[in-house]
Each structure stands twice: as C-alpha cells, then as structure tokens.
Chain length 446, copies 2
C-alpha cells in the first residue's frame, strides 16, 4: 500500500506551487504530484506557440521545479477519489493513500453546441503538448482562420497567427473585444490596433452554424453573413474541470467549480482545491466569478501549500482581484479590479480618475510611448476598486502596483502622494507619474 | 504693492507640483512661481544630454504645466525673504507680498576643495541650460574625461559620454560604485557592465590634486597614480540650496537643509519648503539623511500644495524611502529602503530574501533578461525594510511595488501571496514571480 503525506492532482501552476510551498513550510514530508500528461505547457504562453515561438517544446514548464525539491512526480490518470478512506485510484499505478489531498485539475475549454461542431478543423485550446503540436503542424494548411471569442485568448491567438500571413477573422458575441477586463475606451484602442494590422473583427454577432463536409468550409453568423473558414480556433472560455471532485461527493457551485473557504479547503477537511477547478470569489462583490488565471491559481496554491496541515492566519484568500495584462502589436494593456461598467452594474457609487503621460522623461527619449490610465474609486470611502492602463511594456508591472494598492485597501489620497522611483529611461516623470496623477484627478471630483 | 495668495520660489519638480496641487485643492487663488532661469532642465535627464539626446532643448520641462493652470511665472532672482512682513525682494521686479510662501530652491553641486580646482575644464553639474549647452559644445574637444563620484550621477554621465568614443575614467572614493543604494552584489554587477563597455573605474581612491596650467591636464590620486584629464566632471554630490532661507532666519539643520515638519512647514508657520532644499527624514531610522531625488521632491510638493493653507490629515510626509532606479548598458537597477549593509549599520536585526527568475515566460521568448531580487525584512516583525533588483526595463515599475509595500508596512507573508497580473511578454511566470519568491525565501529563514 502506497501512502503519502501530501498528494496533489494536477501539474500546472496550481499543482507545482502547492507542492513547492508545502515542501518549504512542512519540511521533510512525502509529497507526490500526479498529472495525466508527459509535459506541462506554460498556459499563458500557448498563443505564442503560433507566432513568436513556433515550437511547443519552447513552452514547457520544466519538471525540475518539482524534482529539485524532492517531490515525486507520477504521470498517470486519476480515475477516482475515495474521500472516506482517503485514497485515489489511478489508471496505471496502485492506489495511493493520502493524509492531505490538493486538487488542482484546472479547466477545460467550453465547446459551444453549434450545429456542425463535429466537423474537422475546429480546434478548442487544450493545454496538451501533443495536441498543440499537431495543431501547429496543421496550421500551415489553413489560410482562412476564424477565431471565436474576443477575450484575451482570442485576441492573442489572432495577433500571433496573423504573423504567418493568414487571413484572420475574430468573432465577438458582445460589442467589444476584451470587454470583461476593460471599459470601452481601452477596448477601442485594442481593436484599432488589431484592425490596423489587418485582423477582421466582427462584433455583436455569433455562430449560427458551422458549414462543410468532413472539414469546416464556412460559418454562418447570426448577423446573416456567411464567412469562409479553413479552420476555427475556439477561444470561447473555459470551465472548471471538477469531474473527479464531483464524483467523490465534494461540493461544487452552480458553475461546477469546487467550493472552497479562505484557506482553500473544500467541504472535506482533508481535501483542498486550487486554481481553475476551484471557486473564485470576487474581492469586492463577494460573488462567485468565473475568473480563471494562472496568476490566481499561483496565489491560491501558495495559500493551500501553507495551510494544508495547519490553518495559519497569515495566509488567507481575500478573493480574486482579476489582475490581468496583455500585449498587442507593441502596446501593453493592464487591468485589475472592477471596470467602471462592472462597478456601476454592481451598484457601487464610484469616482473615476484619469491621466495621460509618457513612459520616459523627457518624452524626446527614444521608444517613448504614451501611458493612458483610468482608476476607479469608491465614492464614499475613496478606496481604489479598479484600474486600467495602456502603454509600453512598463504597464506589465505598473498594473501590479495597483494590484497591491487594491489588496491593501488604499485610498486616492494615499495614491496621490505615495513615493516612487523614477528614471528617464524607465518611467514617467516624477511630475507626471500616472498613478499619482489619476488619483489626484479623482480627488478633484470627490 | 504686489500681493499674491501663494508664492513659490523655484521652478523645478518641487515648485511646479506645489503650484499645480495648490491650484487643484484651493481653486481660484493667486499663485506665482518665481525662478531664476529662462528654462528648467528635466533634472534626471541631464546625463542623457551627453549621449542619447545631444541637445539641451530636448530636456526642458515645458512651462505650460504652469501656464495652462493659470499660474503666473516670473523669471527673476529672489534676493531676500522678509518673513516678519511676509514679502520677498527680487532683482528685477517690485517686492512681492505673500500670504503663504513655499521655498523650492533645490540644491547646488558640492565643489570639493582640492588643490587646482580653479583650473579650466573642471565642470560641476549645474541644472542650467545655458551652462549645460556650453558644456555639450566643449565636450567634443575632450578625449580624456574623468568623472569624479561613482554615485548614479557619475555612473550615468560615464555611460552616456562613452557613446561618443571618449576615454572615460570614473573615480570612486569608496570601494564600489552605487554603494549608497546597493549592496555589493548589485554594485559588482553594475561595475562589470561599465568595465565590459570600456569605462575605467578606480575605487578606494580620491583626488589629491588637479594639475595643469590654465586648463586641467592631469589628476594626482591618493593611491599614487597620476592620470590624464582633458576635462573633469564633478559628480561628487549636491547639497541643499538654503541661503535665502538661512538669511531670513528660517531654521536649518547641520547640513544646511531647511527643517520641516510632516506637513512640510518650516519654523515659520507661513513658509513651507520642499525638495532638495528641505530636510529629509529617513522613513525607518528617523535620522536626517542627504537623499536628494526629484521623485522625493515631487511627493513633498504634493503634500505642501495640499496643506499650504490648511493642515489636512490625509497628506503627511512619512519620511523618505529613497526609491531609486537607473539603467546601465541595457540593464536596469532599482533600489528602495535600506540596503542590508545600511540596516545592519543602523542596528536593525534583519532577514534577507533572495530570488532569481526571468522577466518573460517562457524564458525562450525574445529579449528575456534575468531578474535578480533581494529583499530586506525586519527579523522581529517580518516587515519589509528594503529591496534591490536588477533586470530588464520592467524593474522601473517593479521597484515601485516595493516602494508601496514599504510605505504600507507590509510583511513577508503579505508579499508572498499578493495577487499579481502576469503575462508571457511582460512579466515573470506566476510560478516564479520574484517578489513572491524572495518573500518566501526570507520566510524560510525566519
């Protein structure tokens, strides 16, 4: 009988960090990670396989993160969790008993049930190297590629696949691309870049039917148009992969995400869940929200790895702040917290602060880009509830200043006068530092 | 008799932001800024005039920051402050009476009193366009240029002036360049880059004598060497320019910096002081420290502009955290708070956390650089006291995440699990985000 102190199902961000954190916190215990694939793809790197990288092997998370921490790695498929007797059943190995179990089974792409969905050359995005490699090889056969979904996965795939000269059409059910993360003015900026670079965008429309024999040939849209398609990339979202947990009788919510408390513990006291398979609670509204990001999984894993054997008060999940960034045609976009639209829909009274500046100073320096920033504050408390930025690459970390500010419950007053480092080649001018400036703009309206 | 509600002496970062903040907070009052130069140089941009920009006119702070906010601008020299009767005397204009006065007279370069210092072609760095333009024109005559001082001004000037093929020698009194902001491992990395790019560095030595007739020809060093010098750039530090304040009987400290309270108010209740001319108090030690940065001036100015007519509790100066960044030969360096060396010298018990990662993920993406991070925490409270980073350009804003964390008194536990946005092209992997990782490394040692 095999028995381990800590068993983790899933080998991506959530599984790896649960394991390595527990190793650091609990020292010399037996830890096993079991996953059903030979290799693990960097999840956010997948779109870049189809443009910049051109090779799945360049997008692998190295196993040495586990093995160098003395964590056992099994490649096998778990078929059952028996929570009463605390063991799992796998396809190839003997049953494994656990003291504590962390479920990090991730998500699966949503496959919409349009007529014709069984045709060939319609591709969901599975995080599986063999599958993605096959897709990469096939791509050279396709000229007319239709991407379904204008969220960040769809937008990034469109931008990357355009590099090889294909004709790319992006289909977006709602009125704007990236509308879950950004207000209209930022979505418009992103769409403009996509259009200028030759990507076709069709908004406010959806698939009526996939048409073809054997292979997809055309797509009929709800707006009456019919468009050509040699291939379809489905970027229509993902959902929690919680089958194992559900079969074991662990509680899930209406979206089939595994329910967890602030320590990432499920309805079973010896089982925790992290990452895309676990329920996400919004930091602000306390509602359950479908925000599935590797960075969120990483934080949850660190909380779970820390608390797995003992609840320690210094690590709790305060809820997701939906921190997000992307880069399209040289322009970076970042967002965190609620958008203006979301905050209003959720019945918050808010004040918006806006500011534009340059990301070098003086602006005459080479490679200077404008920075556009929008901050959302609670009208009553002055506390920051969200931020959106577009600019150069520095946006990638600037958005995390706002992430920290949100998690600390900082006010516009705090953010107007917080001290920063500035440098001509690296940041905006200290006279026009955008977070300070946007906070002041909001204060003027309060 | 001319009378204004708010008079500000000095037109750089401190003066401008004092004026524009007061305009936003107090509405329709009379505000006048008086400065003694026709144009204002972007202070941190000055080294870049001598390499990348090659033109002083590209390094000017535009006056429209004042004029578009309906702030009167006078170019004139203030010769006296009469604080008892609340007016100033200028060279060209009539006396100006004020209700409130903000002094933002900045700093002046320290001119060491070495023998031979009166020789030609020895240049302090005055923030004066006419002077700097003259220096730029003369530079083409010089081949052997010696830079005195291995702080960031000296290092940036050396890197920039090397672009035109001169032979550059950097003289540093202490054992390492940038030693005020960084511990040895980061100073070593910076020095290696300078050496690899052909800059001569001489540490642990200082000037004994400047030798020459009329013009400088050679420099005798305390280590016995004599080196050639067609020109000398003095980057040996700056000191508060507080002559006007001292003559008026306003209290200054032992370094001649104007003493101020947390609202930036001087010993005179109607006079405030901000920026390089005002005393800096260390956030941690509460000692007076000679940290003169435009970004610090900017924050002080926003506090002064906000509090000038009324003390408002939401804006106080908690002390300088010495947030700083620079870029040398494509590598960015950032530092904030105390270094390990400083913390130990100041008798703090500390724990150090270290982490290395890559600034893109996967690391196979183009233009990926390593990030090296070191965090300093109080051993007793776990609260962050400092951070140092080297890496790509993203360091410019990443250091400001640490700036915010320090100002918020965050702990290693908080920083291990704070949520961030990550993106392949913009940040480290969520599995190996450096602030999270360095915090965990410190926790393991606590």
């Amino acid at each position: 009988m095999k028995k381990v102190d800590l068993l983790i199902i899933g080998g991506s961000a959530g599984g790896i960090l649960s394991a390595t954190t527990a190793r650091k916190v609990y020292g010399d215990i037996d830890i096993t990670v079991i996953r059903d694939k030979e290799t693990v793809m960097v999840p956010c790197g997948i779109p870049y396989i189809y443009g910049t990288l051109k090779d799945t092997s360049k997008n692998i998370i190295p196993d040495k993160m586990l093995t160098s921490n003395n964590i056992d790695l099994l490649v096998d498929k778990v078929t059952k969790i028996n929570k009463e007797e605390k063991y799992i059943v796998t396809e190839k190995n003997e049953d494994i008993y656990y003291d504590k179990l962390i479920i990090a089974t991730g998500s699966l792409p949503i496959i919409p049930s349009f007529p014709g969905k069984e045709l060939n050359n319609i591709f969901p995005v599975y995080k599986d190297e063999v599958y993605l490699k096959n897709l990469l090889e096939k791509m050279s056969d396709f000229q007319e590629v239709v991407v379904i979904g204008g969220g960040f996965i769809g937008v990034e795939f469109a931008e990357q696949m355009k590099k090889s000269g294909k004709n790319i059409t992006l289909i977006q059910r709602g009125d704007k691309c990236l509308r879950r993360n950004f207000d209209a003015e930022f979505s418009d900026e992103a769409e403009k870049l996509l259009l200028e670079n030759g990507i076709n965008i069709k908004t406010n429309t959806q698939i009526e039917e996939f048409i073809g024999e054997e292979c997809i040939k055309e797509i009929k849209l709800s707006n009456g148009e019919t468009i050509k398609a040699d291939a379809v990339l489905l970027g229509a979202g993902v959902k929690a992969n919680s089958v194992l947990a559900q079969d074991a009788g662990i509680e899930v919510n209406d979206d089939e995400a595994i329910m967890v408390n602030e320590y990432m513990r499920t309805s079973d006291p010896d089982i925790l869940a992290v990452g895309d398979c676990a329920q996400k609670t919004c930091f602000f509204t306390r509602n359950s929200v479908p925000i599935l990001l590797a960075s969120t999984a990483a934080v949850e894993a660190k909380i779970a790895g820390y608390n797995v054997f003992k609840n320690k008060l210094t690590r709790k999940n305060k809820g997701t702040i939906n921190a997000f960034s992307t880069k399209i045609y040289g322009r970076a976009f970042g967002a965190v917290g609620l958008t203006e639209k979301q905050a209003k829909n959720e019945n918050f009274d808010i004040v918006v602060g806006e500011f534009s500046t340059m990301d070098h100073h003086p602006g005459s320096l080479p490679n200077t880009q404008t920075i556009k920033m929008k901050l959302i504050f609670s009208k009553y408390s002055g506390v920051i509830m969200g931020g959106q930025i577009s600019g150069g690459d520095s946006i990638g970390e600037m958005i995390n200043i706002l992430s920290l500010a949100i998690q600390q419950g900082m006010s516009a007053a705090d953010l107007n006068t917080f001290q920063v480092a500035t440098h001509p080649l690296l940041t905006a001018s200290p006279i026009a530092y955008p977070i300070n400036g946007a906070a002041m703009n909001a204060i003027e309206k309060m």
